[in-house]
């Protein structure tokens, strides 16, 4: 028996590909060795969002209710119960994936997959080995946390993100090695739950300096205000256990320093799982960073083998994987598709949240665009004020000549939800006028998008405009 499509990995790339393939009438199987829904639903996006939601609830109850006249006493965290609730969220989502797969007639096979040759997969499980043949294999096996040789994960003291999401108790003191988005998300919510958090970042900026520089400034100020102790240019060297605590030695700006904690979280990035499954053995080519080389249709160099999601390269984001999953399934069924998205929204669930699409102002200028940009602060938005979430802003960057949107950067409340409008605008080739002239409902956080477009055009209503309004010609484009 031969499948039309066999998907390996039931994460947000794989399960989506399998469902679409089956919808298109292809005989489809999916193989998963661990959990349905993959890292995302089980030890990544979803459980971390559950924890962040709980921590933010606690933070509001403790620190923000009193000014509103809500007096709450004796707020405390019941960690085992919180953990159980978090698990229930994951279980619900993961169970949903299984149901969807079954409902779409995708055959689910549990086990560890290895390529025997380019047409045959060996799947090992407790029930023994099984050979699977398929015309097309979609490899969607994702990535895993990078392990530092000096800090091997034991998930007791030295934690990966997986271990950190599954703590039985809130650590008193936590050291986070790596100020990327995973370290910041987990560090921030543990801080809210009561940990003292120290971040050791090897670079000069958090989040690898990827954001727009205005966003970085606000983020760094905000992180400091929340009480995270961030050390830049800090290289963690090794650690010693002493009793129940651990001492991490690090070189900070060339000076040796010691940091004491009871847990260490290492979040220094992720590596693709391309060293598994005998991918290299059957001739699949990898790039120098270990990602599988794919073309705009996500074909590998080996005919019939496709790769999507983290294993196929940056950005390592679930929503990119899902988009590719749908696309590859459709290509296999004979549709004419290539990966043609202008932008993949990036979302970081720090407090405040950060999200962006398109280019930063620096990138746009480096590409040779003559740009205009504008910022609208959440402090001037009624909904944000009533939420007590006034930190941050929306920033837009546009082509000075055509006003076509080049990038949108948000740091502030619900940035993760607001960015979708910007993503649509980018994909549609929208101009600032398109956004400014779209009536946005009042009073909402979404108004900040419209206001920001106005500010960028030089005529915001709810902020004082610093720039001169550009002269306009009859056809609507700005004159230089």
């Amino acid at each position: 028996m031969k499948y039309d499509v066999c998907v390996i990995g039931a994460g947000p790339g794989g399960y989506v590909a399998a469902i679409r393939a089956s919808q298109l009438g292809l005989k489809t199987a999916i193989i998963e060795r661990e959990y349905m829904g993959g890292v995302c639903l089980n030890v990544g996006c979803i459980p971390s969002k559950a924890m962040i939601s709980a921590a933010s609830f606690l933070d509001k109850a403790k620190n923000h209710s009193s000014p509103m006249g809500i007096e709450i006493e004796g707020v405390k965290v019941n960690m085992p119960k919180l953990k159980k609730w978090k698990e229930s969220v994951s279980a619900k989502m993961s169970g949903g994936v299984s149901q969807l797969l079954k409902g779409n007639k995708v055959e689910i096979i549990k086990g560890e997959a290895t390529f025997k040759d380019t047409e045959t997969l060996m799947v090992s499980s407790s029930e023994g080995d099984k050979e699977i043949k398929a015309e097309n294999f979609i490899v969607a096996t994702g990535s895993r946390p990078i392990e530092l040789p000096a800090f091997p994960y034991d998930e007791e003291t030295i934690l990966s993100s997986t271990g950190a999401l599954d703590l039985e108790a809130v650590p008193k003191k936590l050291i986070v090695i790596g100020g990327g988005y995973i370290g910041l998300e987990i560090g921030s919510y543990l801080k809210k739950l009561g940990s003292e958090v120290t971040v050791l970042e090897a670079g000069g900026q958090l989040l690898s300096g990827l954001c727009d520089q205005d966003v970085h400034k606000t983020l760094e100020r905000s992180v400091k205000k929340q009480g995270l102790d961030v050390h830049y240019n800090a290289f963690a060297k090794d650690y010693k256990k002493s009793g129940r605590s651990v001492v991490v030695t690090a070189e900070v700006n060339g000076e040796k320093k010691e940091f004491k904690a009871d847990k260490v979280l290492v979040t220094v990035g992720r590596v693709p799982n391309s060293d598994q499954m005998n991918l290299k053995g059957i001739g699949v080519e990898l790039d120098e960073r270990g990602f599988v080389k794919v073309d705009p249709r996500r074909r590998t160099n080996v005919q019939g083998i496709w790769c999507i999601g983290d294993i196929a390269g940056q950005p390592l984001l679930a929503h990119k994987a899902s988009h590719e999953g749908v696309m590859v399934a459709e290509i296999i069924s004979g549709e004419n598709r290539v990966y043609d998205a202008k932008t993949v929204p990036a979302v970081i669930f720090t407090h405040p949240e950060i999200a962006w699409v398109g280019r930063t102002e620096e990138e746009a200028k480096a590409e040779g665009f003559e740009t205009i940009s504008g910022k609208f602060p959440f402090g001037a938005n009624g909904k944000a004020v009533s939420l007590q979430e006034t930190e941050g802003f929306v920033k837009m960057i546009a082509d000075a000549k055509t006003h076509a949107l080049l990038g949108v950067h948000i740091i502030g409340p619900e940035a993760s939800n607001l960015i979708s409008e910007a993503a649509l605008a980018m994909e549609m080739g929208a101009t600032l006028e398109d956004i400014a002239l779209t009536i946005h409902p009042h009073p909402t956080l979404g108004e900040t998008m419209m206001e920001c477009a106005e500010v960028t055009l030089g005529h915001g209503i709810h902020v004082m405009n610093q720039k001169k309004r550009p002269a306009r010609s009859a056809n609507g484009s700005a004159q230089a």
Binding site: T118, I282, D295, R299, N301, N336, R337, T402, E427, G476
Partner: protein
């Protein structure tokens, strides 16, 4: 997937549809990769569509005589039943697939772009996301499904956005002659007047304007609208040329090549073009620039059963009279048989139309836009000519030069013809200009 659809591939610039002329295979046939399976006539040429891979033909979807848009399914085939694909050894398939030089998908695993496609030759156009082109995701998908590279379409929307209408404009009415109304539209930038008050009666026969005839119609209309034509006519005494050509003809027969007057006229034309570079040029209207061509690619009008075709002799200045003769014969024959390749009809810098074998004293030809001139040559006759106080029998031949008055003044054209004639009338001078 074991079965695949072979769609009509993008067979050339500006080609949006093709007429299914003939199937070269039938259901059940086993074919090799790149084996021609269908003959499709586009508005420019008849092309053979190759099989994307080895396999067995399952279904012939298009019927002979159908007009098929680019990207439409021609046939369904089951892949791998042939010799090439089914490799069950653990060796990588990519290495097991034989490389065929004509295949657009190289099989070496080096570049990720170059992997073999199980769908055959789908054109990977650069994703719009990689460029500065603005177009909504649905428009991008729409264009891709029509096999149109959005990056090449000028956008008419705000900020240069490419709209769905812009895509449709490129496709034109090509998606089959479905309605009378749509077949009046034209993909060219020149819009045609719509004539509505046709008087029709039952005896009239209506056939769709399509294929080569439609293309001719569009090109002629475009040239007449864009180019202000003027034509200059004169008679050349080619008595000496006749003598030389007759000698050359006898020699040519030893090589099995029929030497006509056309190659001599070509050589004279090239020598004259070098003196008058504005005749070997184009006007780029969009850029507002004159483009002087450095190649001498001579188109020559050929009458074929399918209509007018203009094969092109590339770099004619670098070829001998014998080589030109052989190429003229080859191209003319294949033009009549409908076997010209698309690029054999592209890139002319000036065109010659030769009506000598049919008749007529003079004509006013239409310039093959974006060229700026066309040379006409007509039937040769014996005439008495009054030279040095006496009538003598002479072989004379009429010529016309039709030029784009935007670029070429009347006096310049007159001088051009004069210079051309001095070479045609005096072969010794022509020899001096030979390469």
């Amino acid at each position: 997937m074991s079965t695949t659809n072979l769609t009509l591939p993008d067979i050339g610039e500006g080609v949006t549809e093709g007429e299914m002329v003939a199937w070269l295979v039938k259901v059940g046939d086993t074919v090799e990769a790149d084996q021609p399976v269908a003959e499709v006539m586009t508005d420019k040429a008849t092309v053979e569509v190759p099989a994307p891979d080895a396999g067995v033909i399952k279904e012939l979807v298009a019927k002979e005589g159908d007009v098929v848009p680019i990207g439409e399914t021609l046939l369904k085939m089951e892949l791998g039943a042939g010799s090439a694909v089914a490799a069950s050894s653990p060796a990588p398939k990519a290495e097991a697939t034989p490389a065929t030089p004509s295949s657009p998908t190289p099989t070496t695993p080096a570049a990720p772009q170059a992997v073999a496609s199980p769908q055959g030759q789908v054109n990977i156009m650069p994703p719009v996301a990689d460029s500065d082109v603005l177009a909504s995701p649905s428009t991008r998908r729409f264009a891709r499904e029509l096999n149109i590279d959005l990056n090449t379409i000028p956008g008419t929307g705000l900020a240069g956005r490419v709209t769905r209408d812009d895509v449709l404009k490129v496709v034109g009415n090509s998606s089959a002659g479905t309605s009378q109304a749509s077949s009046a539209a034209t993909p060219s930038t020149v819009s045609l007047p719509t004539r509505t008050n046709f008087v029709t009666n039952a005896q009239d026969e209506r056939v769709p304007l399509r294929g080569i005839r439609k293309k001719i119609a569009e090109n002629m209309q475009m040239a007449k609208r864009v180019v202000p034509h003027f034509t200059l006519m004169d008679e050349a005494d080619v008595t000496q040329l006749v003598r030389i050509r007759n000698q050359a003809k006898a020699v040519g027969e030893k090589y099995g090549v029929k030497v006509t007057y056309l190659p001599f006229v070509m050589k004279a034309l090239i020598a004259t073009l070098k003196e008058f570079p504005m005749f070997n040029a184009s006007i780029d209207d969009d850029a507002g620039e004159i483009v002087y061509k450095k190649n001498f690619n001579l188109g020559f009008a050929a009458d074929t059963p399918n209509g007018l075709m203009v094969p092109v002799i590339k770099n004619a200045d670098q070829k001998s009279l014998l080589e030109l003769s052989a190429e003229i014969i080859d191209l003319s024959k294949r033009a009549r048989d409908g076997k010209l390749k698309l690029d054999e009809m592209k890139g002319a810098t000036i065109t010659i139309t030769n009506m000598g074998s049919i008749g007529g004293t003079y004509a006013t030809p239409i310039i093959n836009h974006p060229e700026v001139a066309i040379l006409g040559m007509y039937k040769m006759v014996k005439k008495p000519v009054y030279i040095d106080g006496k009538f003598k029998a002479a072989s004379v031949m009429n010529y016309t030069i039709t030029a784009d008055h935007r670029l070429i003044d009347g006096a310049v054209a007159a001088n051009f013809l004069k210079s051309l004639f001095s070479k045609l009338e005096n072969p010794a001078e022509l020899m001096l200009h030979m390469i």
